[in-house]
Symmetry: C2
Subunit: 389 residues, 2 copies
DNA sequence: ATTCTTTGTTCATTCAATAGACAAACTATG
DNA sequence: CATAGTTTGTCTATTGAATGAACAAAGAAT
């Protein structure tokens, strides 16, 4: 609520740590100048950070005409974080250091069915990652889970249509099992955060991440922070109406964006192409992408999806005026075919002012966006926690 | 950048002032308990606020079993703020005290034409309000202007289609004239802020204000703050595509929301009703509303507009997961006819989770939303400025 | 009349940042 | 190579904002 000296100290210590983390190796003098603190203050804060094993001194740096500086680096191995991407037909777990480097990973290609079954898969992955983690001062500092569904702020999954789940107390189940800080996040939010921290969105403050998979979800980074909405359900833009009286959607509405621009829509259209070869096994996105070259029907299907993606993105841009749009999740694999028609829609339709200084890119972290996002979120929570006291 | 004792003091003083402003009359002891500060700290901060004329002691309050408290009240007359709503066919100016009460107002019903002409109207209104303002310690503390167009963060109007303006340096022109802090804000943002401070949105943290007039603009209050987008152009949702290959829009796109749900759309449809009575003078919203009763063609036109408004609002809700939607500006006058169909669309189409704990209302401040919003914004800037040092 | 509560002030204490002095370590220069 | 100038990092006295405890004033309760 109110402010006092202790809060000042914690905030300044956190700023010093962030500076070392982002710009290290860096000297005390440089930190002081950048943050506008005195050298003495920085010295004492750094000493506490060193004592807490959050950073350490490395060799001396280059002199710039005087005494050589002692360089400080962030101790990325002070602990390890776990991120899980719970997909519809896979579970991907990563163990990362505090800088977000993947140290270990495990992927299970399983179709999610019952919650109990899936929970046990997840626990196995987590136990595997924990038991193979390197020794460290803080050990495992937290676990983040990205989930394709509607998650409230308490960490319950209210609804995950593509998993067929409802009302799942995932956070408390995992807290009970692991006695560690647990973060449950919508998969699009997780992806947005991942790309913001490590991927295409590194240098941007206002970006929108579009998770185009079986369905479409959207994650918002506004003013450098994830925006979750009043109850935590923001970003369900797959159900934005882009065609009044359009196709009927399972959600009860009509003309929803994801009926036109999702992987599911693409696969259904591909099936109805009925080239005689309607073997359902071939109807996988990977297969379609491989075979689009030279197949005009298929490639124009991708172009159509790109067009429809562009329509929704037009709406997003006019709404948010973001600096950057990142297209991620499985459909991003079709970049080669979709990028041109997508950008054409924006150029033709979107308000000109919004197009200046706007970047539209595809995700850089491929399948790791969401897992790295939640892992990094857990790390950030840890670095802003009581360890600074 | 970094933190120190002075910042702590300013923040605490600001908190004390806000507490007095929102909850006054209140005692020093109550403030201390609420903010978690000691009585001594509050005492000394309050004394400085009294010295700065920002609050004063009023009579003693009721005893709760001991010494009677000295009650403090915010000095709403320490200065006055000016808010201007620049409409397409009117200019409304208000002078408010620091609590947002309207002390004086002046409305000009003029059709905006050239910038120079309009600027001179505005200056006249401002001079009128300034010269008739009561004596006060700080005098006029700032001027806010709400503009129906795209405004950048520097206070230039980049584009105001309904005024026919481009690249107008409004802020610097006014600063030069009045030597006062000037705030230029998009009209929808201004309205959102007004309703948040004084109207339907008082107790909400995440709300969306829909300014449905000739065009449609939208203002976002997210986490209690106005969100403006990367460059300040957020909320241009009138150009959200809700019908692929729909009607052509002047913006270059097709199927834009405001082609279906704005006042302009309604008027055009009404004109094409051609009941023989196509006198253009009658084609004013006020006239249509008055005559809708008993006129089925007209009333169903309003219902249709309500339906289309609902479609866009559905998209907004699924996107933002707000606590509240406020429909404002001129179309809000048609509440009687539009509310039911509008809410029906939401009930039928919007994801059920988002509907819980969601309120959809019409603006409470009627034509004053925007003017009060910018005036209040100027006030807030003043109360968080150097006067606290 | 006495005791207990509550309010608001005062003052010594605490603690984080600051400013400035200083030693150590390095560069540049004649 | 000796000297002067720079840069780094530490140390110490000082500043200033919040704290906590004591206390007087004012009222309630008995």
């Amino acid at each position: 609520m109110s402010w006092n000296q202790q809060i000042v100290k914690v905030n300044n210590k956190s700023l010093v740590l962030q500076t070392i983390k982002n710009q290290g190796p860096i000297s005390r003098a440089d930190i002081a100048q950048q943050l506008g603190l005195t050298k003495g203050t920085v010295s004492s804060l750094v000493n506490e950070l060193i004592e807490a094993k959050l950073c350490y001194e490395t060799g001396p740096g280059e002199s710039s005409g005087g005494r050589r500086p002692v360089l400080l680096v962030f101790n990325k191995a002070a602990g390890y974080s776990i991120g899980i991407d719970l997909g519809v037909n896979y579970i991907l777990g990563v163990l990362t250091d505090l800088d977000g480097n993947i140290i270990n990973e495990k992927k299970l290609n399983v179709n999610v069915e019952t919650y109990d079954q899936t929970l046990s898969y997840m626990k196995n992955i987590i136990y595997f990652l924990i038991s193979n983690a390197p020794e460290s001062h803080y050990g495992i500092i937290g676990i983040g889970i990205g989930v394709p569904g509607i998650v409230n702020k308490e960490g319950d999954i209210l609804l995950a249509p593509n998993l067929g789940w409802k009302q799942i107390p995932l956070k408390s189940d995992l807290e009970e099992e692991f006695q560690l800080p647990i973060i449950i996040e919508n998969e699009a939010n997780a992806g947005a955060y991942g790309e913001k921290c490590f991927g295409a969105g590194k240098d941007f403050e206002d970006l929108i991440y579009i998770s185009a998979g079986i369905g479409i979800g959207v994650g918002f980074i506004l003013n450098n922070e994830l925006y979750r909405g009043a109850q935590g359900f923001s970003g369900e833009m797959g159900h934005m109406i882009i065609e009044i009286n359009g196709k009927e959607c399972k959600c009860g509405s009509k003309g929803c964006w994801e009926l036109y621009a999702s992987e599911k829509a693409l696969l259904e259209d591909a099936a109805s192409l009925s080239t005689g070869d309607t073997d359902v096994n071939h109807l996988e996105l990977e297969y379609l992408i491989e075979n689009a070259e030279g197949n005009e029907k298929l490639s124009s299907l991708f172009e159509q999806t790109g067009y429809y993606l562009g329509v929704g993105i037009n709406n997003i841009i006019n709404t948010f005026n973001p600096e950057q749009i990142i297209i991620g999740n499985r459909l991003a694999m079709g970049k080669e075919w979709m990028e041109a028609p997508l950008k054409q829609v924006i150029e033709d339709y979107t308000l000109k002012q919004h197009q200046r200084e706007l970047q539209i890119t595809f995700a850089k972290l491929s399948i790791y966006s969401a897992a790295l996002g939640v892992s990094s979120y857990a790390t950030e929570n840890f670095l802003k926690s009581d360890i600074l006291n």
